[in-house]
Symmetry: C2
Subunit: 252 residues, 2 copies
Amino acid sequence: MTIRLADTGDDNVLTPCIHDYQLNCGNCRLNGICLPLALKSDDIEQLDSIIQRSKPLQKNQHLYREDDDFKSVYAVRSGALKAYKTTDDGREQVTGFYFPGEILGMDGISNNLHASSAKALETAAVCEIPFTSLEKLSALMPSLQRHFFQLMSREITEDQQLITLLSKNSADERVASLMLSISTRNSRRKLSATQFRLPMSRVDIGNYLGLTVETVSRVFSRMQKLDILQVDNKEIKILDPPGLQNMANMGG
Amino acid sequence: MTIRLADTGDDNVLTPCIHDYQLNCGNCRLNGICLPLALKSDDIEQLDSIIQRSKPLQKNQHLYREDDDFKSVYAVRSGALKAYKTTDDGREQVTGFYFPGEILGMDGISNNLHASSAKALETAAVCEIPFTSLEKLSALMPSLQRHFFQLMSREITEDQQLITLLSKNSADERVASLMLSISTRNSRRKLSATQFRLPMSRVDIGNYLGLTVETVSRVFSRMQKLDILQVDNKEIKILDPPGLQNMANMGG
DNA sequence: TCTCGTCCTTGATTTACGTCAAGGTAGTAC
DNA sequence: GTACTACCTTGACGTAAATCAAGGACGAGA
């Protein structure tokens, strides 16, 4: 695959390779779900001017680590990342998976230190948004300030969803909910809602959902036997969306 | 107890009854841990001018309910509240307890609807902070904008702590952690770190920690037998703080 | 091609916590 | 005082998921 650069004069610049880091906010196909949402085009240019794009992260490479100085938040442009904390006794708690268009790193604002680590699950490109610049720009652009408040608030409500999931739901329900969540987020990005490749391992899924690998694996087998999901290693095909909904919802 | 009003001319106005709702931010004894933190005194006056104080909530009275229109965030001035969501199958998930100086309601920003309900656990007074006013003021006062970003970020990191607790820790560890959290928050307010009255029921504690009432009760009994805690219904006395720390931390 | 390492699956067994059941205690109303 | 209610505690038992154990599948590298 050849990387197409925006300055080549190629007439393909508006649909560049997803890892192309010369892209700008104005022509990014994610701008409907990322920060620029609801900004006017000249505002987008201003936002664009503070954003830094660097070369893609390789699989397993860290974007930042717990207790690193907090300087920026990040928007995923391609690939996928996980955020995780290491508990006192050395185990890992995955706190979120991040797909293109989603923002991570906001947990670092409170103490000026990253509260979690972020690592690429596969080759991934991100936009770095220096926080002090974002603050200044927010003060000038009410819709940007509003949007960023909303993004943080969304992170809170999503965490609360996960809290509820962990505290009240069975293993089947947890895994079904995650599959639905990934499906929904895929369709927001105009990708298939019924067929996708999981970027994370079974261990990561378990660590996120508060389950062991074995349990996750057994749940997948069960879903396969019930013809709800077709599972081929990391390739997932949802055969029975209502059935999956049902499995996720029925609480108890 | 008589309620002293600020306009009585009484020389006690600077240390009024905790439920006195004529108080302002400038003389509120919580202003070191609430929103005004780090604001200059004339800035505090501006903040003060947008804040609405109303009469105290009675026990079990709602401050807002899930899906209510979002208009304001709230600072607790006295008493305690719980935030909770009702799951699809009608059960309750407590997502947080809020004590004086703490802010709640921020989960409503993302969709302009409150994502959870908030109810007084005992008689409680709150300051209502209309969000649109707060937004406008934030754009003018960088330190206020910063502080509010930090408060939201703190909510995120605290939720992530809870996620980890629910996903990795035993019943003993969860209850011990909650007792330590309450103890810490008490000492931030210059109250006893070792002796306090729980404003919430065992059911609430269970709903928060993902445990049943019976389990919570058994954990308290066990802690009492180990001389870590003295439990007399809702009156808690921490007899062995290092022992409690130990019980909370040892992740096994 | 074979080898090694990582990841995944499946089965047998254990266990922490949930469920069910009964009884105690404290606050409030009468 | 008694009665009612909400809340808490304790015990006996059941179960979902963890743990322990073994083996299979797949990809990377020689």
